[in-house]
Symmetry: C2
Subunit: 204 residues, 2 copies
């Protein structure tokens, strides 16, 4: 059983994935994937963390087939494609090794042939802001107004959407690409994880 | 606790709703709503069953504000609006009476102020066709090829989408309008109902 979790930023997807993995006693891959990509390519961890889940930019030269590309564009595109190819190879390796939970990176699409349980997690902006402040994943959160924080959250989600849609050709967060979509607003992630993993255990 | 269930045709939404209601020992409203609408308006049950979950057609005169409407158009529009107003009044009455499960009819939108648990149920076309043949909800199903049946299913869903979007102004089946979206493909509706109602009981 491979479980993939797509998620809006700060909606609790990562926590949900980690807890499901703990309950099921199976590996959980998130940042670990970045380390592997870094090993497999010539790019540093920090570089991959920054570029790993974005789409190639700008797209004009590629889409229009016009040759006004420049060195920087070509390099960016090559970088994105390199990283995506490495991601594909690593995720496939991980899935072959056995049951696991994988966060983000269009894993639901990449691992299609393994018929994963595809979960998507989202929440209201109000809740995501609250959660982001409580969890303090971002160092500079306390300096931001709610409005600025909302903009930041939207911008990260836009990157995830662009990455997903560029590589998979499908709509990020559209029910048709998932088995279960959960609005985590005001939900207890702990009990949600227990419930989902309980159901998975029951079925095995 | 009001539970609303939006659903693709033949995805098992009605069965899921009925079983959740049974588990929770609360009323379940589906066709019952049509009876009430029929009582509250001058339209027959059959008429409402046919027109009750469709959008007013054609929309041109209304949208463009141009007066090339004719009697038939005006009558259709009036009918749809009448039925929608009656639906609103009835659903609000039912929700005020207490906990219940309501199927379709943009109840999630109409009953927004009651903060319902908003579920949306969908499935693969292959599964919906299989289910439709097994359940035999439609008399003439056996005479249809898979292709014809798929067209029929899509057409019913298009009506539901149009109804929902016309009256709510929101996207039918878009995660942002729901708390939980479940792909029922190959799932056991019975155990799904038990799981969801179990969680609702636990929270109360």
């Amino acid at each position: 059983m491979i479980i993939t979790i797509g998620r809006e930023f700060s909606s609790g997807g990562r926590e949900l994935g980690r807890k499901i993995a703990e309950e099921l006693k199976i590996p959980y891959y998130d940042k670990e994937i970045l380390v592997e990509i870094s090993k497999k390519t010539k790019y540093s961890y920090g570089y991959i963390e920054h570029f790993g889940e974005t789409k190639p930019m700008p797209l004009f030269p590629v889409k229009l087939g016009v040759s006004f590309s420049n060195e920087k564009t070509d390099a960016n595109l090559a970088l994105s494609l390199d990283i995506f190819e490495a991601t594909k190879a690593i995720l496939t390796d991980l899935a072959k090794k056995g049951d696991c939970v994988i966060i983000g990176r269009a894993a639901d699409y990449i691992l299609e042939e393994f018929k994963p349980l595809r979960i998507f997690v989202y929440a209201s902006m109000e809740y995501k802001i609250k959660r982001c402040r409580e969890k303090g994943q971002e160092d500079d959160v306390s300096n931001l107004t709610d409005r600025q924080l909302a903009r930041k959250i939207r911008s990260i989600d836009r990157q995830r959407r662009d990455y997903y849609e560029f590589f998979s050709g499908k709509d990020w967060g559209d029910r048709l690409n998932y088995d279960l979509l959960i609005n985590t607003t005001d939900l207890d992630i702990d009990s949600l994880a227990k419930q989902i993993s309980g159901e998975i255990k029951r079925k095995k």
